[in-house]
Symmetry: C2
Subunit: 143 residues, 2 copies
């Protein structure tokens, strides 16, 4: 086996690619990508955030956020309303349709992840989740 395969970065990247490709396929019918799905989750969990706040929490550039929100609004997955307390900013809320999409996508994501992890025992899958979480927690990427 090639030396490069002994690299955690390389292995993690390849596994990430498996998850990404599998999930992107499932998301196609909904016309959104994984990052836009993350934006929708965030707005569902914290209604009335502004574009800037969502951008900061997900570490996405605010100009990129404009196009993401444009797209999700056009699909009627969320609504922009002017924040009356600061009319420069928007208050973002998910729509009923958006919530439905969210649930469907969550199910599809679990399904595609089960497929990628199918060679692992339940214990190994749990272990993987715990170890990844542990790496991220110490880096304080807790959003």
């Amino acid at each position: 086996m090639s030396r490069i395969f002994k690299s955690y970065g390389f292995m993690t990247g390849k596994v990430e690619q498996l998850f990404e490709l599998e999930f992107a396929e499932k998301l196609k019918p909904f016309n959104i990508n994984a990052k836009q799905y993350g934006v929708l989750i965030k707005i569902d969990e914290k209604p009335h955030l502004s574009q800037k706040e969502v951008a900061a929490e997900l570490k996405i550039d605010r100009t990129t956020m404009v196009s993401f929100i444009d797209h999700l609004e056009a699909l009627k997955y969320l609504t922009r309303t002017k924040n009356p307390k600061d009319r420069r900013s928007y208050s973002l809320t998910i729509t009923v349709q958006g919530k439905q999409i969210l649930e469907s996508c969550w199910g599809l994501m679990e399904q595609s992840e089960r497929k990628i992890l199918s060679s692992l025992s339940n214990e190994e899958a749990d272990m993987l989740g715990g170890i990844l979480m542990k790496i991220l927690e110490t880096r304080r990427i807790n959003e």
Copy 2:
């Protein structure tokens, strides 16, 4: 904690990003990126491969490979010589300087990976490597 954080895909992506950013920083002085480093490893392990063969093994587009090889040749990390048995293709070999760079980068990669994994016990780090490998093996990404 946000729901999205319970996703393997999301966690794997974030961890991959940690490895990538850390290693990219180390590679800067050598003026190559992680994929070009992978190309160099491949040519070191299998001398006299053609550009097309390297491209196929690493799943990189052959037109992208042209610019990678241009770059690595300009840095004198590898040499192109015409394959006498098929003058359409090149025979790629790593230079002495390329080999030195390879060893330096390998050390730096191990160093940056140890940093990312520093919150794990040795057993956990080994477990992570084994589980990632197990996922990839069943998908037959064995190059």
